[in-house]
Structures are given as C-alpha cells and as structure tokens.
Symmetry: C2
Subunit: 286 residues, 2 copies
C-alpha cells in the first residue's frame, strides 16, 4: 500500500510541489485546498495524484504533511489540527520565516515530528494556475530540524528535495534563517516600497534608469503575504533595518561634511565589498 503525502494549500508553492513530487518513491500525492476553482484546476491539470477540500478526511492517514499556506495560515492550521495528525507522522512547512513557525509547532503532540523548511524558489506570480514542476530546479532547500527530529525524516526530506530538483539541502537554525532572509529579501522589499513613497515618484516617470527599476521592481508586492512575513520576522527585520539606517546615515554624514576624500574612501570600501561578493564561486558558476 502506498504511503500518503498530503500538501495543504495549492498555491504557486504547494501546486508546484504537488506537480514536482508525483512519482516520488512510494508516495501518493494528495492536494488539499479550500477553493473550488483551485481544486478544479488542480484536478484537471494533474496537480498531485488527487485533491480534496476536506483536510480532516486525509490528515489522519497521512505519513507526511506539507503545509504550503500563507505564514499565518500555517500557524492557524497547526493549532486547529494539532490532534488530527497520525502518530509518527512528519509535518513540515515551506514558509519564508522559520522561528515563528517552529514556535507555533510546539502545540503538536510529542508523537508528531515537525521540521521547518524553506525551498528558496518562487516567481512574481501566485496561484495554482502559475504552478510548474520545474520551479525548484537549482534552488536551495533550507531545513530547520528540531533537536528531537528523527534522522529518517531528515533523510526523507533530503531525498524529496533532490527529487524536486533542488541543488542542495542546507541545515540551519530558525534564528540564522530569519536573519538571512531579513537581509537578503525582506529589507529589499522595505527599501523598494519606501523608495516609492517619495513624493517625486510620478514626476520622474519615464526617466527612471535601470538602477531605479532594479531597486523598486518588487514594490508592487502581495500585501497580505508580506504583512505576515514582515510581522512574523519582526526582531530580525528590525535589526537589519536599523543597520541599514545606520549605514545610510554614515553616508549622509560624509556627504553633508563635504569631505570628498572621505567620501571616496568610503565608496571605495563599499564597492570593493560588492566586487568581492561577486567573485565567481560555486554558487555563481552555473
């Protein structure tokens, strides 16, 4: 008899996983969503082996449950379904913040193993109609096990990530993950929206250079999702925002002082850091 892998939430991420994981070892892939149009689309396009709107019907028999909802949805689902999971089951999530999710997962009974995950893949679109199985090709799969996570579950997720096409699985802590994401992604979105708050925005339309477009590309963000991501990662995001404010303020001071030599020295240091960052390395050669 086949094992059962349930994916809760068939958006871009869950839908793409449901496609990419078909045929994985001896698992049947079951998709769960509350939206009828999503379920219809998924059933018609082979997203997973079969789909249902009734989580309660499939969770108790699931060996593995992947939560691919919005961050707050994951937290709420864990609380509402804490007693529905099969003893010995592996539950994992795919959300872009980890400490808050791992904290929420403490409601689970001891018999249920939870591992926080973050496949670093996506597009600027959302919804099952944009899902595609190749989305994970070449991306990192970040994993935050708990101290008591079972080695066979960690090994299972490593095989699963490889099957989806991820290039590696990087184990980290919730704290380190959240600091990384705050710096490499979240603060970029804060910068982008803050730049668009400038009163001169519309006056410069048609005159934006490529640097302006590059910096503000992500400003038209999914408000519901990012409100949750920012809010659930508040300490790490505030820390990196304060460091950015300090670094901008340092440039402000040397500019205001009118000391060209000091400005040149400062720019040379920052530019050298960027050049060093971009040196070809294993991750940049592909």
């Amino acid at each position: 008899m086949k094992k059962r892998l349930v994916i809760v939430g068939l958006g871009l991420m869950g839908g793409s996983m449901a496609i990419a994981l078909k045929g994985f070892e001896d698992f049947e892939i079951v998709g769960v969503d509350v939206s009828q149009p999503t379920l219809r689309y998924a059933a018609e396009h082979g997203v997973g082996d079969w789909v249902t709107e009734r989580a309660a019907d499939v969770i108790p028999q699931a060996d593995v449950v992947a939560l691919a909802l919005h961050p707050q949805g994951i937290i709420d689902f864990l609380t509402a379904n804490r007693d529905q999971f099969k003893p010995g089951a592996l539950v994992w999530d795919v959300c872009g913040v980890k400490s808050a999710i791992l904290e929420a997962a403490q409601v689970l009974p001891e018999t249920v193993d939870f591992i926080g995950c973050h496949p670093m893949a996506g597009t600027e679109f959302s919804g099952v109609e944009h899902a595609f199985g190749e989305m994970f090709q070449g991306s990192h799969f970040l994993m935050v096990p708990r101290p008591d996570s079972r080695p066979e579950h960690i090994a299972l997720l490593e095989r699963l990530a490889a099957y989806m096409g991820c290039k590696d699985v990087c184990r980290t802590t919730g704290e380190d993950h959240d600091a990384l994401i705050a710096y490499t992604s979240q603060i970029m979105h804060i910068i982008a929206v803050a730049v668009c708050d400038d009163p001169d925005l519309f006056a410069c339309r048609g005159f934006e250079g490529s640097s302006f477009r590059g910096c503000t590309r992500v400003a038209a963000l999914d408000v519901g999702l990012w409100t949750q991501l920012f809010s659930l990662n508040r300490p790490a995001l505030l820390a990196v925002l304060d460091r950015l404010l300090g670094n901008l303020q340092a440039y402000r001071e040397v500019l205001a002082a009118g000391d060209r030599a000091a400005l040149a020295e400062k720019l040379a240091r920052s530019a050298a850091r960027k050049r060093q960052m971009d040196l070809p390395g294993p991750d940049l050669l592909k």
Copy 2:
C-alpha cells in the same frame, strides 16, 4: 568649408558621440583626449573624423565644443580654457549633474553660449573601447539652456540629439534636473553601497535572491566618477536621502509597533503607487 564640432574627452560617452555624430550636417567631428592609447584606438576605429591631443590647437576654431569629461574635469576645463573659445561658439557638456556645471560655466565670456546637456544613456563599462554609436538610441536628451542661450543653438542641439538617435529632447532647469537625478539614479547607488556595508554581506553569499541582486547591482561603482557626481549634487542628494531616511523610519515605526493592520495599510499604499507608476504610458510602450 566644413564647420567644426570638437568633442573633449573620448571615454564611453564622448567616444560614442564621436561615432554617432559622424556625417551630422556639415560638421567635421574632432576628438580630443590626453591619453595616447585612447587616441590611437580612436584613430584606428574611426571614432570621429580625426583626433588630437592638443585642445589648444582646435578649440579656437571650433563652432561647437562638447565637453565629455568627468564632472570635475568639465569644471576645470571651462576655467582653464575660458578665453580660448571662438566668439559665437556653442559649448555644451554631457554630465549627470547640471547646476554645478552651469555655475562653473559662468566663467565664460558673454560671447560664448553655454548649454547644459545630459544624454541619458550609458552602460556599466567605461573607456573608448566600449564606445558604440547606437548607445543613444531611444534615450532622453535633457537640456538646460541659459536665459540668454541663442535659439539657433537650442535648435542645433535638438537636431544633433535626433541624429544620435535620442527619442526626445526635454528642456528643464538645473534644479529640476538635479532633483530628478538625485532620486532616480544617485540615491539608488547610495542604497546599493549602504546595503553592501552590512556585516552579514559575505555570510549570505549564494543565498541572495533576485531582489538583492537587483538592488545591489550598481554597488561596484566607479569611485572617482561617483564621488564627483555625489559631491557636485550635494543639496539635491541630501534632500532625497533625508526623504528616504524618513520613509524607512516610518516603516520602522509601524513594524516596531506590531500593528499589522497599520502595516498592511501602509504596504497597500506603497504597492499601489508602484503599480500606478508602471501603468503603460508613452514611455513604457516601446
């Protein structure tokens, strides 16, 4: 007899103009540079009709002089050559700041017409070996005439810009130009270098998402050039930097307060501004 158009400085900008302007009306295009390798390359590759290292030999007979040096180089050249220009000549520059250049141009005698210009074109490379005549295709040509600039000179530059391939000529003031550039370009470079000053930069190598790459792409900048551009545009740049600091601080406050509804409302407003900015318009349809 042909008229003479002298281009001082055969870097990426001056070199590309010297290529693009060949055959323009009844002008011969003369390139001036102090670097022997640059002159050799220009002569061998048809950059301009002919080149020389001796500005003093060609400036007094020039009907039009385009200054394509670094900003401080333009200022210094104007001062050093103030009495060398032919009475009735048109002198113009191509620099990314305008108020400081127009102020420097006040050293010129009344018989010499000066018009500040800024062809909004370029690449991430520099030097004559990267020059190409198509660089100006589809770009804006910003022009800041003085109150006493002669209409025939303005008309000449309009024809010249069209000949190079610019899509339009926009007349503006030094103040407006510098505010526009401070916001659409300069502050993006300040953000990029400030982000790279973060102590976590190297720790996140290989995990930067596309938003991080988009925001920091321009951080490995030409230190000498940008030190001059920032310094010569100090008031406008400080103004936009202070507005950015204020807008980031406003996000910091709503984040720190932990008020999700207020954060969502603020994000919705910024994202809507970005969407409105990107509505298809005349400049974005091409």
